[in-house]
Subunit: 578 residues, 2 copies
């Protein structure tokens, strides 16, 4: 079954055996970052010989996942390493070409799973660019010097301000539909309709016009913000950058910290990081992510946090968790469920949350909270079943409790022995000295980490009775045992040790037995109750339709448009509308 | 390409050559309606021998499109023929079974297009039940006497109040995922999360538990509103119905009108109705729907409207238009684009709109407006390219102008001759005495017909500049020529007669050349800018994911769950998550 997927899978270039999301500026092949005072210029200059997979070249600033991994990295470094930057100018080093978008040969040869995960990651990166503007005060100007086609224009759409050179040929376009029989899959349709608010009939014309729209009409139709003659283009960009930088609320004096390489080692059945471990139980199709609480109390001062830099526990853990999730998404496709476990002192985790709250006006503390928000969103959007096991010795408190709330289900072990607070024993029966399982809430659970639908995870969980949110909030700082946590609705099941092993095992077996596709669809629906935003529209409406189209013979069949692109043969379509 | 679709298509039962959406109580095979004062009881009693297609039987109150066509019909008749009804009790005639949901053998053997269109229509019908409650004051009580599985429970979810018999075996369930590797496709997931507001982890357990949830837990988890012992079930239903009827705002005194059979005849290349014609241009893959304005001015009184009944022009046209759209959706799959044209006196169309506004408190006038709202929503959700041609002699005014606003594009002919108002000639040049093309707005364009996202079509169109809505509103009642209409943003292109034929022809050719799937995806995204509602979530997020799953080998492959259901063989899944 699905033979076309297997046969289509390309080999990674240069003998690589996995897709690595870690990189650093010295290793970039496709981007240059120049920082001049509070203005950063981010230059796209894709090395056509440095594709992620074998079998295609990245001509005309077209991109693949490897190019986007570098983009995501540089955006993070702008946050943490360059806090003085107030505006980013995004542009191309290629003459008369901004970007040709996602590489078509890459797409045509990619497995369905890779296409889907590629689009998801590129969408997350563009949302990150918007978050950088909205929440960190660093706006992006996109300077389009020529052709911005497909994903190239979608990248521009992530910017706050789009400037197009008006030279009679430079144009923006979304040619996916006429050229490839697919959709602009990196947010293009949603950003055209909901961010740029292009009138729907203009959008219809635009998205079916292969050559795109240029000059004055592009401005009139709201596709770009400005069309500037070539002779005035550089001056206009500079003036606009200065103007935006002057209005930024970002504090430009701070010195950044260095995002040092992750402390990480891969084994046959896992990945070991500094603050978490990933363990694969391949026969059960499980990945267990065990996070470790802080080894030391919070630092004495904000300066001490800056001195710790990437080793500051909340930052270290967020970066490691993000890398682990991405590794599972792209490299471990057979994992059915991700299991979150934790170990450590929940009181210390709460102490870090309180410390970050107290320092919320410090740029680094703020960026760390924003990073956690994005990592948690990435978890929400990960198409694997998510479950949290809250066991003795765990530390699902404050920020870490969000892992339980992001999960499709949580299981909490109800100790049958006296609670440690009462001076009694502990966790899972005689001989186990771990403290009984608890869960604890902090202020951070009530606003710091909105989901992509704009709600907190508890707000979304308790949509039926908002008063349940208040009841939970009243317990902030308390160590809640299983009975209390269940009563408050914070966990799915509180089980005693007699039932624990069987219930959890049966759940894992059941999950692994279900169709992965229907789980993806179910979870994508049940995780996002309540309002929708442009972001959820991108990941739900747009992505789901694109995934459908990516399965249709009209796109991927032997006579389909993606397969026939560049062969000189026209695609043959099944003309029936569905 | 897509051979499995062709081979899978079933023959319609009894030698029928098309699916007919017209029926009447005397011909029902699956439902009984009993009206007792202001309480209606709607009994589901599916005739297992009366399936729409050959090759399966409708056991255990399972349903196919034929069953749902009767349900949609009876809901319309409750509106128009039984205005005294204030509450509907929805129940089953089968012992210990409410409904087994959509027939699995029907689904397993249906073409992809039929599955998709079947789900769309059933969703529209359930939305219609909710609209009946929200806007006409007729609430539905669903009385579940046994098993309500899958689509059976999804039907219950459309009700305002769900009562489950508490007998130790009656249960509600959504077993689609564990049993069939698909999703509950008729709104189930969205209604569980957004209407019933079931907590997400409970929803996860519910949707993966084949046998479902019963009794007290079903109430605790918000899946039903009440679980009642068998001995008290009938009394409880009756009491609840009386209570709801007493609170209904529906005026119970009025006499209904008869929804007489449509005046309709099919030819090889079209369908002729009383107030519209459908013409198929099969080589161009076009369906032209030409609506005709009223032949007479509005009636002198509301009583005269009641006397006209189904022949009252706005009601007649709405019913015919609905039938035409459904006919194209289900029976004319090869149509790429639907072209709306009109002929008649735009002043008369405006007169009808003013008349309906003036009589907005009359139950029949209100029901007619609500019907138009649903028909226009049905058009929005029709996965064909929609275009309106505004030509001399047309009457796109008020309600009929919504057809242009529902379209992906509109083309308006700019007369080169003096405007008739100036005493000059007319339409398309010498010899053509039709009045020049105009478009006109009425109050109805600014609130009577919200789209499924809650916005008016003009509000959604002018999302970027709400002041454009005000500018349009200021023109209410004026006959707007092409130049004015374009300036106001009401039409996509105003063309003179030199360009008209070529531009329109090229558009049609282009549209027919594109991949139908990518058009479906693009239009589903561009038509619904702005907010999302539960209704749009059902048609976008949920439907798009379901359509994807309906294409995946894990569901429809030879070893997939839908194909293997009932064979005794377990499905074999590609275990990779996408």
């Amino acid at each position: 079954m699905a033979d076309h997927e297997h046969s289509a899978e390309r080999a990674l270039a240069n003998g690589r055996t996995r897709i690595d999301f870690q990189t650093e500026p010295a290793r970039y092949r496709h981007w240059q970052l120049k920082v001049d005072g509070n203005v950063a210029t981010l230059v796209m200059d894709v090395d056509e010989k440095a594709a992620l997979f074998e079998g295609y070249e990245l001509k005309l600033n077209s991109y693949d996942l490897g190019v986007d991994i570098e983009l995501a990295d540089v955006i993070e470094r702008l946050r943490f390493e360059h806090p003085q930057v107030r505006v980013v100018i995004l542009r191309s080093a290629k003459p008369r070409v901004f970007s040709a978008g996602a590489n078509i040969r890459m797409l045509a040869g990619a497995s369905h799973a890779h296409k889907v995960n590629f689009c998801k990651f590129t969408n997350e990166t563009r949302n990150g660019i918007e978050d950088l503007s909205q929440n960190s005060g660093v706006a992006t100007i996109c300077a389009i010097n020529g052709t911005a086609a497909g994903g190239g224009y979608e990248l521009a759409l992530a910017a706050d301000y789009i400037m197009l050179v008006d030279d009679g040929s430079a144009a923006v376009s979304l040619p996916e539909l006429p050229l490839l029989a697919v959709l602009p899959g990196t947010g293009g349709l949603s950003r055209v309709s909901d961010k740029r608010k292009v009138r729907r009939d203009h959008a219809d014309v635009f998205c079916t016009t292969e050559e795109g729209i240029k000059g004055k009409r592009a401005v009139e139709w709201r596709l770009v913000d400005d069309a500037v003659p070539g002779s005035k283009f550089e001056d206009a960009i500079e003036a606009r950058a200065k103007e935006i930088a002057a209005k930024s609320r970002r504090n430009g004096k701070a010195r950044g910290i260095k995002l040092t390489p992750l402390d990480r080692s891969f084994t046959a059945d896992g990945v070991e990081y500094g603050a978490l471990s990933v363990e694969f139980s391949r026969p059960q199709r499980l990945a267990t992510i065990a996070v470790r609480g802080p080894a030391a109390p919070p630092p004495a001062s904000a300066d001490a946090m800056v001195a710790l830099g990437a080793n500051f526990w909340p930052l270290q853990l967020a970066r490691e968790l993000d890398d682990a999730i991405l590794h599972i998404r792209l490299n471990e496709l057979d994992v059915a469920a991700i299991v979150f476990k934790s170990s450590g002192d929940p009181g210390q985790v709460l102490a870090y949350d309180q410390w970050l709250d107290a320092n919320r006006d410090h740029w680094l503390a703020r960026e760390i909270r924003l990073l956690w928000k994005r990592v948690l969103k990435r978890i929400d959007l990960t198409s694997r079943s998510l479950v949290t096991l809250i066991e003795p010795g765990s530390c699902f408190a404050g920020t870490l409790a969000e892992l339980a709330f992001a999960s499709d289900r949580s299981y909490m072990l109800a100790s049958t022995l006296p609670h440690p607070a009462s001076g009694g024993g502990s966790g899972r029966g005689p001989g186990d000295n771990k403290p009984a399982a608890t869960i604890a809430l902090a202020d951070a659970n009530f606003g710091a980490f909105p989901m992509s639908n704009g709600l907190t995870r508890l707000g979304c969980r308790f949509l039926a009775n908002p008063s349940d949110v208040d009841a939970a909030k009243a317990e902030c700082g308390n160590m809640l045992d299983a009975a209390r946590a269940q009563k408050l609705g914070l966990v799915t099941f509180a089980l005693d040790e007699i039932d624990w092993d069987d219930e959890v095992r049966v759940f894992f077996e059941e999950r692994a037995s279900f169709s992965p596709d229907s789980l993806t669809g179910m979870e994508a629906n049940l995780r996002f109750a309540g309002p929708e935003t442009m972001e959820t529209k991108i990941f739900a409406r747009l992505t789901a339709w694109q995934n459908w189209i990516f399965q249709r013979p009209n796109a991927i069949g032997d006579e389909g448009a993606l397969k026939r692109y560049g062969t000189g043969q026209k695609p043959v379509f099944d003309t029936r509308r569905v």
